[in-house]
C-alpha cells in the first residue's frame, strides 16, 4: 500500500512500533521529507513512547525475600509427617490392643462353623447356612484360648474360616454359641464391608451388638448386621429400616438373649441374597 496523506498515521504508528519493512521505512522517510507538516506529527508520535520512571521503586524487597536455607524445610516437614504417622499408628496399635485383643480374650464368642471344619463337635443350636456366590460371612473366633480353658467342647467356638466360592456346594454351616456368655458384656469388634455401596467400618461395641451411630454408613451396616444375625440364627432386637439412621434405631443382635460376639470380614455381602436366604432357611425349618 502506498503511503499518502489519508493513511500516513497508520504507517507512522507502525514505524514507531518497528513493524515497517526496510522498503516501507524508506518510503515513509521520503514521505515525511516531502510533507514537512507531518514531520511534527511524527515527532509527537515519538514522544508517546513511555519511559519508565526509575525513581519509583518498591521499598520492601527484603520482606519479600526468603531464606535460602529454606531448602531444608521440606526435609523437616517430611520428618514431621513421618513422625506424626508413626505416632498415629502406635496410638491405633495400643488402642486396638486394649479394646480388641484383650476384650476378645476375656469374652465368650459365637462360632460359625462351616463344613470345612468337619471335626468340630456340635450339639445344640445348629442352623444351616448356605453360602451364596462369594457372599460369604467370615468370622473369626478370638476367644479360643478362653474356651479351651473352660474345657467345654460344646462351648467350643471355632474359627470361622474364610470361605470361597467352592463353598457354594457346601450346604451346612453350623453356628454355636457358648453358654457362659455374659450378657451385655463387651465387646464386639469387627469389620463389615457391604456391597454395592462399598464401605468399610471398624466396630467396637461396648454393649451387646449395637451398631455404631455413623449415619453415613449406617444403612449398609444395618443391612449387613441384619444378615449376619439371620445367618447365625440370632434374634434381632431392633433394626433400622432402609434409609433410617442407625443412631436413632440401633441394631442389636442377641443369641439366646445373650450378646453375640463375632468378627466379620465379608468382602461382598450382598444383602438381597442373604435376605432371600434367610426366608428360605426359615421355610426349611
Amino acid at each position: 500500500m502506498k503511503i499518502d496523506r489519508n493513511n500516513y498515521e497508520d504507517f507512522l504508528i507502525q514505524k514507531l512500533e518497528g513493524q515497517l519493512s526496510n522498503e516501507q521505512n524508506a518510503e515513509m522517510d521520503l514521505f515525511l521529507h516531502n510533507n514537512s507538516d507531518i514531520q511534527s506529527e511524527w515527532e509527537a508520535f515519538e514522544l508517546t513512547r513511555l519511559i519508565p520512571d526509575e525513581s519509583l521503586v518498591y521499598e520492601h524487597k527484603e520482606l519479600l525475600k526468603k531464606k535460602e536455607s529454606a531448602g531444608i524445610i521440606p526435609f523437616y516437614r517430611t520428618l514431621m509427617y513421618a513422625t506424626s504417622i508413626a505416632a498415629s499408628l502406635l496410638l491405633v496399635f495400643f488402642i486396638s490392643q486394649k479394646y480388641f485383643f484383650k476384650q476378645t480374650q476375656k469374652n465368650p464368642s459365637l462360632v460359625a462353623v462351616n463344613n470345612s471344619i468337619k471335626n468340630n463337635k456340635t450339639e445344640n443350636d445348629t442352623s444351616e447356612v448356605k453360602s451364596l456366590n462369594n457372599n460369604l460371612i467370615v468370622a473369626e473366633n478370638y476367644s479360643s484360648n478362653n474356651q479351651s480353658s473352660n474345657g467345654s467342647e460344646n462351648k467350643t467356638i471355632n474359627n470361622l474360616q474364610k470361605t470361597n466360592s467352592s463353598l457354594i456346594t457346601n450346604q451346612i454351616n453350623q453356628v454355636r454359641i457358648s453358654d457362659d456368655i455374659q450378657p451385655m458384656k463387651p465387646i464386639v469388634a469387627g469389620v463389615v464391608r457391604t456391597f454395592p455401596r462399598v464401605s468399610y467400618a471398624s466396630f467396637i461395641w461396648t454393649k451387646g451388638l449395637t451398631v455404631p451411630h455413623s449415619p453415613s454408613r449406617s444403612v449398609n451396616e444395618a443391612g449387613a448386621w441384619l444378615q449376619v444375625a439371620s445367618i447365625l440364627g440370632s434374634e434381632i432386637i431392633r433394626l433400622s429400616g432402609r434409609g433410617e439412621r442407625l443412631n436413632k434405631a440401633p441394631l442389636e443382635l442377641q443369641f439366646k438373649n445373650k450378646p453375640v460376639q463375632l468378627n466379620i470380614n465379608n468382602p461382598y455381602l450382598r444383602l438381597n441374597k442373604f435376605l432371600s436366604f434367610k426366608k428360605k432357611n426359615s421355610n426349611n425349618k
Partner: protein, 162 residues
C-alpha cells in the same frame, strides 16, 4: 525455581511490577499490596514456575489483582466524589514533556494504558501482552494503536495551547 532464583526475581522485578501498578493506581499503598500479593503467589508456586517465566507470571498475577481491586473500588463511593474541595486543583504550572505524557497517559482508558505500558516499560510483544491481559494479539495491536493516536493528539493539542 529455586529459593535463590525467587530472591533474584524480587530484586529484578519488584520495582517493575510496582511501577506498572503504581502508574495505574496512583496509590503507593495499593501498589505495595499488589506487589506483595503477586510475590506471595509466586512463592507459593515457585516450584512450578520456571525462573525464565517468572516475570510474565508476576505481571499476570499483578495485573489481574489490580483489575480485581479496580472492580471492587468501583463499587465503593469515593469520599472525594462528594467533596470536590478535597480534590486536587488542576496544576496549571509549566510541565515538561514527561509530565504531559503522564497526564495524557492518565486520560487513556484502563486497558489501553496497560497495554501501552507493558509494551514500552517492559518491551513485551503483542502475544506476551495478550497472555498477561487475556486479550488476543490483534486486540492488543488495536489498543496500542488507539493509545498512541490518543497520546499523540493530546500532545499536539497541548503544544498548540502552549
Amino acid at each position: 525455581m529455586t529459593v535463590k532464583e525467587y530472591n533474584q526475581s524480587v530484586e529484578l522485578f519488584s520495582d517493575r511490577v510496582f511501577r506498572f501498578i503504581y502508574k495505574n493506581t496512583r496509590d503507593r499503598d495499593d501498589a505495595n499490596d499488589v506487589v506483595q500479593n503477586a510475590f506471595e503467589i509466586l512463592w507459593k508456586n515457585h516450584e512450578k514456575v520456571e525462573f525464565e517465566k517468572c516475570r510474565s507470571y508476576l505481571f499476570t498475577v499483578a495485573y489481574h489483582n489490580f483489575i480485581d481491586n479496580v472492580r471492587k473500588m468501583k463499587r465503593i463511593t469515593r469520599m472525594e466524589e462528594h467533596h470536590e474541595d478535597l480534590m486536587e486543583a488542576p496544576d496549571r504550572s509549566y510541565k515538561g514533556v514527561k509530565e504531559i505524557v503522564n497526564q495524557a497517559l492518565s486520560k487513556l482508558p484502563e486497558i489501553q494504558k496497560n497495554v501501552v505500558m507493558l509494551r514500552d516499560y517492559e518491551g513485551y510483544d503483542y502475544a506476551e501482552i495478550g497472555n498477561i491481559t487475556g486479550l488476543t494479539e490483534s486486540q492488543v495491536k488495536v489498543y496500542i494503536f488507539r493509545a498512541r493516536q490518543t497520546l499523540k493528539d493530546y500532545l499536539v493539542g497541548v503544544e498548540r495551547v502552549i
